[in-house]
């Protein structure tokens, strides 16, 4: 039975803009999972928004064609930060059924079911705003699942979720499919495509079925280049690091969080030049926090971080920033100029690299990350993948001695991921050390020389990449 259809769908944001969708026709049957993949910025999210009715109802532009939905439609967007706003996870999940005016017993039953399905039971009373990126994504997904939609549209909704939760979510999607839910997934990660009945490829505003699903699923595993062995030069050293988040509550005499919520206690390790280290671990283990402690955005309550033998506490953020390049988990949080070109050359204009003619370097980066055609665009208007590439270009243009990348592959298509891998390998060959925080197993296996696994409670283990 037909759940969703689009015929001759065309869309462009305004008359001057190039059309993002060109006469696209598409059908989704009940009890099917369809994946749409394609290069970042090709119009996949726009297409999903058209199918969900967000366009043209809430977003203006030139819309042609027809979209029909035969059932309630729920959509999970790419950025979890713009989907959660309630004080507790439980409230977030209750929001949709409350809007439908359902009886309280029914709301409670739906919440219990979704908490169990998503593995969020332990976080039901947590503030969603303070969760990790992956946990937020699970909450955003759960908040739509309590709507019990007959059509479910997921725009890269599994991108930041850890391996265990991802497997759980894929099993859940399969169960929903068996119950007759029609599911459309916008995806870059081939690991998530194995549950699809059909995979479509979008390019230049057109949609075409992928001849063989296996072509997308079993993409050739890239051959890992082994680094040339050389004496290890230590860049960052962490000594007995301890950290916990302070409570925001204005309670008398309870400024500190209880010890059971300490993220790290006595964490020690070193990071070296010319080596790619991957930091893996479950959602909420503290990987992003550790990245922020290494760069100096956060200050540890205990222990210290040494940057090239200098105590991090004696260096300003700008001094650390000139040596360590850092890409945030959400690229939108570190874009602050009015054009792509300005973003890439910003550090040369005002920074410690001021005076250095960075034009050539900026041009190289714009070209390497295929941003030439977007140089006049407002950075925050770009797609997630384009923002990710822009941040990488801006950070790499400054040639840092060490690079920390937090989930660098989210929003990147297979081709761009390959470009990123090659770029990181060439940086390693030039002696630059790199820490990659990632859930993308394929990517980590392809490039990492060393894998550190961070577990809850702040335990850090070195594990074999391929075990």
């Amino acid at each position: 039975m037909l759940a969703l259809s689009a015929s001759d769908l065309s869309f462009q944001y305004d008359e001057k803009a190039a059309p993002l969708l060109k006469s696209v026709s598409f059908q989704l049957q009940t009890g099917k999972i369809i994946v749409i993949t394609g290069p970042s910025g090709c119009g996949k999210s726009t297409f999903a928004a058209c199918l969900a009715g967000v366009i043209p109802e809430h977003v203006s532009g030139i819309f042609q064609g027809e979209v029909s939905r035969f059932g309630t439609c729920g959509m999970v967007f790419q950025d979890p930060d713009t989907q959660i706003f309630m004080p507790l996870v439980e409230d977030e999940l209750a929001f949709a059924p409350e809007n439908l005016g359902l009886p309280v017993e029914e709301i409670k039953a739906r919440i219990e079911e979704v908490l169990q399905e998503t593995g969020l039971e332990a976080l039901r009373k947590a503030d969603p705003g303070r969760l990790s990126g992956g946990q937020k994504q699970l909450v955003a997904l759960g908040a739509v699942l309590t709507l019990c939609p007959e059509i479910l549209i997921l725009d890269e909704a599994l991108a930041q979720i850890d391996e265990i939760s991802r497997r759980r979510m894929k099993a859940l999607l399969c169960r929903l499919k068996e119950q007759g839910v029609a599911i459309l997934m916008i995806e870059h990660e081939t690991e998530n495509m194995d549950i699809a009945d059909e995979v479509f490829f979008m390019e230049e505003g057109s949609l075409s079925p992928l001849a063989e699903k296996r072509d997308a699923v079993s993409q050739k595993q890239r051959e890992k280049k082994n680094p040339v062995p050389s004496p290890k030069k230590e860049i960052l050293r962490v000594e007995e690091l301890g950290f916990f988040y302070e409570s925001k509550r204005l309670k008398k005499g309870c400024k500190q969080r209880s010890s059971d919520t300490s993220l790290f206690n006595d964490l020690s390790f070193s990071l070296y030049a010319g080596e790619i280290t991957a930091l893996v671990g479950g959602n909420g283990a503290g990987k992003t926090t550790l990245g922020k402690l290494l760069t100096g955005i956060l200050t540890p309550q205990k222990g210290r971080v040494l940057l090239e033998e200098a105590d991090g506490r004696s260096l300003s953020l700008a001094q650390k920033g000139s040596r360590i390049g850092y890409c945030f988990q959400n690229p939108a949080n570190q874009l602050f100029t009015q054009s792509v070109e300005e973003e890439v050359s910003f550090g040369f204009k005002y920074g410690i690299s001021k005076g250095v003619d960075g034009r050539a370097q900026a041009e190289n980066m714009l070209s390497l990350f295929e941003l030439d055609s977007l140089r006049e665009s407002f950075p925050l208007n770009l797609s997630w993948g384009e923002k990710r590439r822009l941040v990488l270009a801006a950070v790499l243009a400054l040639e840092p001695a060490y690079l920390i990348l937090d989930e660098p592959t989210t929003g990147l298509d297979a081709v761009r991921m390959e470009v990123l891998s090659s770029t990181l390998e060439s940086l390693r060959e030039r002696g630059i050390g790199i820490l990659v925080i990632s859930h993308n197993k394929g990517f980590v296996q392809g490039i990492a020389d060393r894998v550190l696994s961070l577990q809850e409670g702040g335990i850090l283990d070195e594990i074999s990449c391929f075990s």
Partner: protein, 248 residues
């Protein structure tokens, strides 16, 4: 006293309304001092640290102090304490007025602190059960909820700038202004885009889809709430009558 934090949010709203109204309506330094002392006691009853509360609002309190000084200078009265020629720079009347102004603000800040013991969902529900349209209640709560989020975004943007090797503290003034001015549009634009995306997300979750909305959380007054509200009402009326009859 220990369990004041567990009061119904509507009772907390009522307390805030009573104390703030008294703070605004009564113009007597002694009464305002008494009211402020009462607020401090209540803060402790709510298990809120007054020091922490006032530390968090120190930026606002700085502005208040500056206004109080100006008020003292521009509204002289009573005995002149400091003069410049024929101009009175500091007078007893001016000091009293600025003292009253500071106390009023402190009373409002302290009483508003009571609300911090309820989360935004409870506050929204309180307003909804007081028959405020739920769309309005949610919009207000979301605006309040997103203030710290936007503040965090500003902090992220500043951290990101510094991580590009730019030391904002040591930039020449002109360049520093250039960077700050340049930041405004992207940060404001980003905030608007985020607000728009959030609005889309809540619409997609059925917001305003049905005329009647149900709620998992239903607030109910307890005996303690009735008692606190009655005491607050009696105290407010008594304080107003006393002021009007003997001091006004």
């Amino acid at each position: 006293m220990k369990s004041l934090a567990s009061l119904d949010p509507r009772t907390k709203f009522f307390l805030v309304a009573c104390l703030s109204s008294l703070g605004v309506l009564l113009s007597d330094l002694r009464i305002l001092c008494g009211l402020f002392a009462l607020c401090l006691l209540l803060l402790l009853g709510f298990q809120i640290s007054p020091t922490q509360l006032f530390q968090r609002t120190k930026a606002l309190l700085g502005v208040v102090l500056a206004i109080a000084v100006l008020q003292s200078v521009f509204t002289p009265g009573g005995e002149a304490l400091l003069t410049l020629g024929r101009i009175s720079l500091l007078s007893t009347g001016g000091l009293v007025l600025s003292g009253e102004f500071i106390l009023r603000i402190l009373i409002i800040v302290a009483s508003a602190g009571f609300l911090s013991t309820s989360d935004s969902r409870e506050l929204i529900q309180g307003l909804i059960q007081w028959k405020l349209p739920y769309e309005l209640a949610f919009m207000t709560a979301m605006a309040v909820r997103f203030l710290p989020v936007f503040a965090q975004e500003f902090r992220d943007a500043f951290a990101a700038i510094q991580l590009r090797g730019i030391d904002l503290h040591h930039l020449p003034f002109r360049q520093k202004m250039e960077v700050y001015a340049g930041l405004f549009q992207p940060v404001a634009g980003g905030a608007l885009l985020k607000a728009k995306a959030l609005a889309l997300s809540i619409e997609m979750r059925g917001f305003r889809a049905c005329e009647k909305r149900s709620s998992l959380l239903v607030l109910r007054f307890s005996l303690k709430d009735y008692l606190v509200m009655s005491l607050a009402a009696v105290f407010t009326v008594a304080a107003l009558l006393y002021y009007l009859l003997y001091l006004g």
